[in-house]
């Protein structure tokens, strides 16, 4: 196990005393197998206890430690130091307001997530005694990749549309709406369409595709959004060319 000194340049912002953020340099003795989160934890424990950042699981499951590492949205627990040379610049996730240091204000995402109703709305109510809702492996596979989303918001930090037009509902929330729309047990599509097929929904997306490239769980939000666009377009034609037809 070899050790090296890693230079971290970390964005600092204290809302009580600072009018704008600044960068602070830390020289951190790191083990070769460490990730950026380990280096931050070392800073917090041994160098500067005032540094604030979010983290929890250290295994790319909780989605808390998303940050910009050398300008790229990454999970700090998945960004191995050995893959970087020179000074590593660590900043809070782009496109979100900075609460303090590397901690961002995520209220906007949480509100949007609620708006798209990312939960099962059964087609018909069923008593527990009536048994489970059955689903075939093919029906499961239809939406399974979208269930892997961990709400880490890297896709929002990568999406230039969200940066320019903050009202855009954005990649993860729309992908999760699509996940339930594609579920054979679900009957809530019409309710979700009011949000995701609106101007603030998929039509703000111009298919840059960055969301899918940065997703640490290999979900394909860009694909989900294009599929919602196609289905919404079909809805429109059905409504206007075949009035009276059921969507």
């Amino acid at each position: 196990m070899s050790e090296r000194i890693v230079e971290l340049e970390v964005l600092r912002f204290n809302p009580e005393t600072d009018s704008e953020p600044r960068f602070q340099r830390y020289s951190v003795p790191c083990m070769n197998e460490w990730v950026v989160l380990d280096a931050l934890n070392h800073v917090k424990e041994a160098i500067d206890p005032t540094l604030s950042y979010r983290w929890s699981c250290h295994m790319a499951v909780c989605g808390s430690c998303g940050m910009m590492i050398n300008g790229e949205p990454k999970l700090a627990c998945k960004a191995f130091l050995r893959e970087y040379e020179g000074v590593i610049r660590v900043e809070p996730l782009a496109h979100f307001p900075i609460q303090r240091d590397l901690v961002t204000v995520i209220d906007d995402f949480v509100t949007k997530l609620k708006r798209v109703k990312p939960y099962l709305i059964p087609k018909e109510g069923k008593l527990v005694e009536a048994g489970e809702f059955k689903q075939s492996p093919a029906e499961l596979k239809r939406y399974k990749q979208y269930t892997l989303c961990i709400n880490c918001m890297l896709c929002y930090a990568a999406c230039p549309e969200y940066g320019l037009v903050p009202k855009f509902i954005g990649p993860a929330a729309i992908s999760l709406a699509h996940r339930y729309n594609e579920d054979s047990r679900d009957g809530g599509r019409e309710e979700r369409q009011q949000e995701i097929a609106s101007n603030e929904g998929v039509w703000e997306c111009s298919f840059v595709g960055a969301c899918s490239e940065v997703c640490p769980e290999h979900v394909d939000p860009a694909g989900a959004l294009q599929q919602v666009k196609i289905k919404s377009t079909v809805d429109w034609y059905q409504e206007h060319l075949l009035p009276g037809s059921k969507k």
């Binding site: 596979k141 239809r142 230039p160 320019l164 298919f207």
Partner: protein, 132 residues
Amino acid sequence: MSAHGKPYVREVSRYGWFFRSPRYLRYMAREVTCVFIGLHVLILIVALMRLSEGREAWDAYLANLGSPAGVALQMLMLAFAVYHSTSWFNVTPKAMPVQIGENFLPGVVIVGAHYAGWLVASVALLFLAGVF
């Protein structure tokens, strides 16, 4: 939140954001190249206008197209149109995944179908134009 001071909002520049990452530049290249397809359509519309004006106008139009500058412009438009079209073909599997039974068709099949369609349309057009 407000009890701990005001969060800091980083402004996003409306211009130049696409220089931040190669993936944004690739996106802009895909989008901007559509201008050359539009330009080609304009030239075709001009062709119809010249055709309606009689033989002399039509021959002058053809001579312009066949001039070195005309040929160079068409080669340029073709190159950008090919880039634009192929960059869209390559992302089609995301927009239209095809599930057969349990599994999804590999992306290469969907992309390949688009190239095949392009080939068929091109051959049909050349046939109608009397090349074969």
